[in-house]
Symmetry: C2
Subunit: 189 residues, 2 copies
Amino acid sequence: MDLLKRRIQTDGLILDNSLLKVDSFLNQQIDPELMMKIGEEFVRRFEGEAINKILTIESSGIAISVMTGLLLKVPVIFARKKKPKVASDDVYTAKVYSYTKQESNTIMVSKQFLQKDDNVLIIDDFLANGEAAAGLANIVRQAGANVVGIGIVIEKSFQPGAQKLTDAGYRVESLARIKSFTNGQADFL
Amino acid sequence: MDLLKRRIQTDGLILDNSLLKVDSFLNQQIDPELMMKIGEEFVRRFEGEAINKILTIESSGIAISVMTGLLLKVPVIFARKKKPKVASDDVYTAKVYSYTKQESNTIMVSKQFLQKDDNVLIIDDFLANGEAAAGLANIVRQAGANVVGIGIVIEKSFQPGAQKLTDAGYRVESLARIKSFTNGQADFL
């Protein structure tokens, strides 16, 4: 997706040749028209699949997911990162370790929003170690539902997430795949 | 906005005649087509205003804001609820008290995304005591920018937020205004 790659090159901020910040169009300021283009590309990549729900995680997955959901005419569910105050039988939970923040979070989805005949497209903004996507897939499986695939905006291909998810049998479609950072620039696969 | 009011009547869950949960189309599961209709209504209500940015707050404000931003072709900024780990000169912050959770949160926006010549539309899902909207307006003012107005999906008109914001000089446009809850039903103004 050339439009996205160009945007990463022009507006992404690369720190220490390892961390990519895209706060200006995806992670704090959002460009809605780019989000729609990303939605269109997810629809194209997963064409022919009988997707009836999209599952993402707050907050940065929401904008891309609602555009995709608008085009597919399916509801979007977002997992919350906050642990429920009281343990509840009404929610699915999964543990997600953040290597960036070096802390483990519990993500949760109300059971009422996932049924066993659902065909779920998982969407997220970044894929690095694959922890968030694996946690979302875990929740879909707890509901007995089917993971159609995993749509990612930016994949850091030099980290193990994409391979781990592919090895686990999931179809991963990443719109921009970064093989390395060199001299403050992203090199794409 | 009759479509929204009907949806609140059919799918909203009213607890103890005081708490309204709309998790099935706005707060955890999102109906993207309804979000687009809400965006269209905000555009209609603020027609003629020179809005160049939308400011909202994670997570439930994002979906409605990106639809509005798509129609207006303007960027959406979302305030984060997490306090920065180190105090920073690069962010605007405001304190927001949550009566529901009985705790005070700091919301923050990177300074780079708000300039003094901006005309900002503030959007949020709920308006009760007005704390979140007032905090967002406070951040816009810290940047020296102009608050064009405040667009709200569901206003609990029996709580003081709308009046407080109006008294402070802000134009508040709420798409569904609830005057009371009776026998598990919402009564609209």
